[in-house]
């Protein structure tokens, strides 16, 4: 019998642990982890195939069709090829960080999936088991934490390559991820506000039993749309895939990677797509919730899983669709969208949700306030745009500026700027 303090915050208050942690429970936990890992890996392989095939269909091409039936084994073949390729490490690279980065990219993707409830509760030999690797009380915060950690993999990969295109790609990527994380977090807050818990399981339970209890409807459709935009940017999926804009950056942050390390990045990218689809389903579409045909035996076990898979698959389809349909944004448009549109929108909607939770009158008042604030903000943005030209002429120079040539260094840094207040100038 072990009862470490760590267990409860991490694994949550699952009923499984109520009778203490024996070997059976341990085995169950280990099996859960292994199954989740295997399923995720398999899903990634299928997803890559699916994406290539679907894009081909949308572009009237055939796509992979040689390895296995309908080209299903294509990804596997690619993986084997990558595995046997030469492992290149650039000369200019920072070797330790270069090797570390792929794992930092993969790990968050794996960890996020642990809090996704994929089904209901099954009972094996008297032990109730949740179909979810872990249900920590801070569930959804873990998702946010991990998605903020995911930045490191990208950032360090680009930096450690010791080459300029990867660096540019990684700076773009990390700026993008940080920018959209705020909007992402704020939409999640709206969900948490109406649920009253951070636990993913509770979030799912609160959205049953009817489909109009889904947060998709309860919160008004807007947070869902905002969340989708934010999450797409967070994943650097098209149309927000500036980080690997081939025409500008060669291949983005992972240009210098090859062989297995490259495969890890590729894996992480698709794994992120899958887990984030699962998170969308959990937060807004009731997770495994759906009508269960009771007359079929054991349907209450596999039907929720099926519902979950169907919903997740729908989002995967949407991601591929977006990629096929939408052109890439320009960088400044991306930042404008993130900071000037998405964040105010999410904030406003959060206020509305909070007010309507309180009472209808509050909601009405806040709605008016939000509209007024929206007008003011629009006006302020317009004024700000116009003022950028004025700024050029705000400060006329004092005196003439003649510089001795030896002082003109590039780039001008703090060290260049003469004596400053430290000196008495007692010359």
């Amino acid at each position: 019998m072990i009862a470490p303090a760590l267990l409860s915050p991490l694994l949550g208050t699952e009923a499984l642990f109520d009778q203490g942690v024996g070997w059976f429970v341990l085995v169950v936990v280990v099996i859960k982890v292994l199954v989740a890992f295997a399923v995720l890996m398999g899903a990634v392989i299928l997803m890559i195939w699916f994406e290539r095939k679907l894009i081909s269909d949308m572009q009237s091409r055939i796509g992979p069709n040689r390895a296995g039936p309908w080209g299903l084994l294509q990804t596997l073949a690619d993986g084997i090829k990558l595995f046997f390729k030469e492992d290149l490490i650039p000369d200019q690279s920072d070797r330790f960080v270069f090797k570390l980065a792929p794992y930092l990219a993969l790990l968050p993707a794996l960890l996020i999936f642990t809090v996704v409830p994929v089904g209901g509760i099954i009972v094996i030999s008297g032990h109730p088991i949740q179909l979810q690797v872990a249900d920590p009380p801070i569930g959804i915060l873990l998702v946010l934490a991990m998605s903020s950690i995911a930045v490191y993999g990208v950032m360090l990969a680009g930096w450690s390559s010791g080459s300029k295109y990867p660096l540019l790609g990684s700076v773009r990527a990390s700026a993008q991820m940080i920018s959209y994380e705020a909007a992402l977090g704020l939409t999640v807050v709206a969900v948490v506000l109406i649920t009253g818990s951070l636990s993913t399981r509770r979030i799912v339970i609160s959205q049953s039993p009817n489909f109009w209890d889904w947060n998709f409807f309860r919160l008004g459709v807007v947070p869902f749309i905002l969340f989708m935009i934010a999450i797409t940017a967070e994943l650097t999926r098209p149309p927000f895939d500036l980080t690997e804009a081939d025409s500008e950056l060669v291949g983005g942050f992972n240009t210098e990677y090859s062989s297995l390390r490259f495969a890890l990045f590729y894996l992480a990218e698709f794994m992120n797509t899958i887990t984030m689809s699962a998170i969308v389903v959990t937060l807004f579409l009731g997770g495994p919730d759906g009508p269960i045909p009771r007359f079929i035996p054991t349907s209450d076990v596999w039907m929720p899983i099926l519902w979950f898979l169907i919903k997740t698959f729908a989002f995967l389809f949407i991601y591929v669709w977006l990629r096929a349909a939408l052109p890439r944004l320009r960088y400044d448009q991306l930042m404008d969208l993130g900071w000037k549109r998405l964040i105010p929108f999410t904030l406003a909607w959060l206020l509305l949700v909070a007010a309507f939770v309180l009472s209808g009158w509050w909601g009405l008042g806040i709605a008016l306030a939000v509209v007024a604030a929206g007008f003011l903000l629009t006006r302020a943005f317009a004024v700000g745009q116009g003022r950028e030209d004025l700024d050029q002429a705000v400060l006329p120079p004092i005196g003439r500026r003649v510089l001795p040539p030896q002082l003109l260094r590039t780039p001008p840094t703090a060290g260049d700027v003469g004596p400053g207040p430290g000196s008495e100038g007692a010359s």
């Binding site: 409860s8 990390s174 500026r401 003649v402 260049d416 700027v417 004596p419 008495e424």
Partner: protein, 237 residues
């Protein structure tokens, strides 16, 4: 699952292992921050430290704090550090042979030893290092831990919570004010200005030979004043 107290008083083996591992993470990270010659490695060591602290928080059943620790510190602050390091291109190995303040390193070591000794002495001598032997209330189950935090934010610390809004406003306004540099005010103008300030005589910006000669001198004066205390700068040139 008992509260903090029992866990702290009677640590189980896994608790102990967790603590040791997390403690080593924290310490290794801290040492790495100051010993790495590359700023990026320093920043990464800092992440290690922050993670270790997050683990310690979890061991104390403060899982909300742990999550916030990761989101805010590792996810935002250190990322910004890295961002700045990469943008400014200071990610070169630092030359730490030249010491701008002579004798600061031995002094720092001495200071560190003193502080460490003080902390260890505090820990060893005091059976109960603090005056209160228990928290005001039990933390209860992990789920209500977050709830308690939320509750205290809206009751005991309501005013602090609201005042934080003022802090955020000023931080944003300040950042914008500092960042909105008019284009022509970079470099040259600054130099001329500081020149005028430094010597009090070159107001017209005619930086002839005299002021050019004065510059190194003034820089030396700046060095001096940085070295000791302010009066050094006021010595006769």
């Amino acid at each position: 699952m008992s509260g903090i107290l029992t866990a702290a008083v009677h640590p189980t083996i896994p608790d102990l292992i967790t603590f040791i591992v997390a403690g080593l993470m924290v310490l290794a990270g801290a040492v790495g921050v100051i010993l790495s010659r590359n700023p990026v490695h320093s920043a990464l060591s800092l992440v290690l430290t922050l993670f270790g602290i997050a683990v310690l928080f979890i061991a104390q059943q403060a899982e909300f704090l742990a999550a916030v620790q990761v989101i805010v510190y590792a996810g935002a602050i250190v990322v910004l550090f890295l961002f700045v390091i990469m943008f400014l291109g200071v990610d070169k190995r630092e030359n730490i042979e030249s010491d701008p303040l002579r004798g600061q390193r031995p002094l720092a070591v001495v200071l560190m030893v003193v502080v460490l000794a003080a902390v260890i002495a505090l820990g060893v001598n005091a059976h109960w290092a603090t005056g209160v032997h228990h928290l005001v209330g039990r933390t209860g189950t992990p789920a209500s831990n977050t709830a308690r935090l939320g509750r205290s934010v809206f009751t005991t610390y309501l005013f602090a919570f609201e005042a934080t809004a003022g802090l955020l406003v000023i931080a944003v306004v300040g950042a914008v004010v500092l960042a909105r540099r008019p284009p022509e005010s970079t470099g040259e103008a600054d130099l001329e200005e500081s020149e005028a300030l430094g010597t009090g005589s070159d107001a017209d910006g005619e930086l002839g030979d005299g002021s050019a000669a004065a510059l190194p001198e003034a820089a030396a004066a700046a060095d001096e004043s940085a070295e000791g205390m302010a009066p050094a700068g006021s010595e006769p040139a």
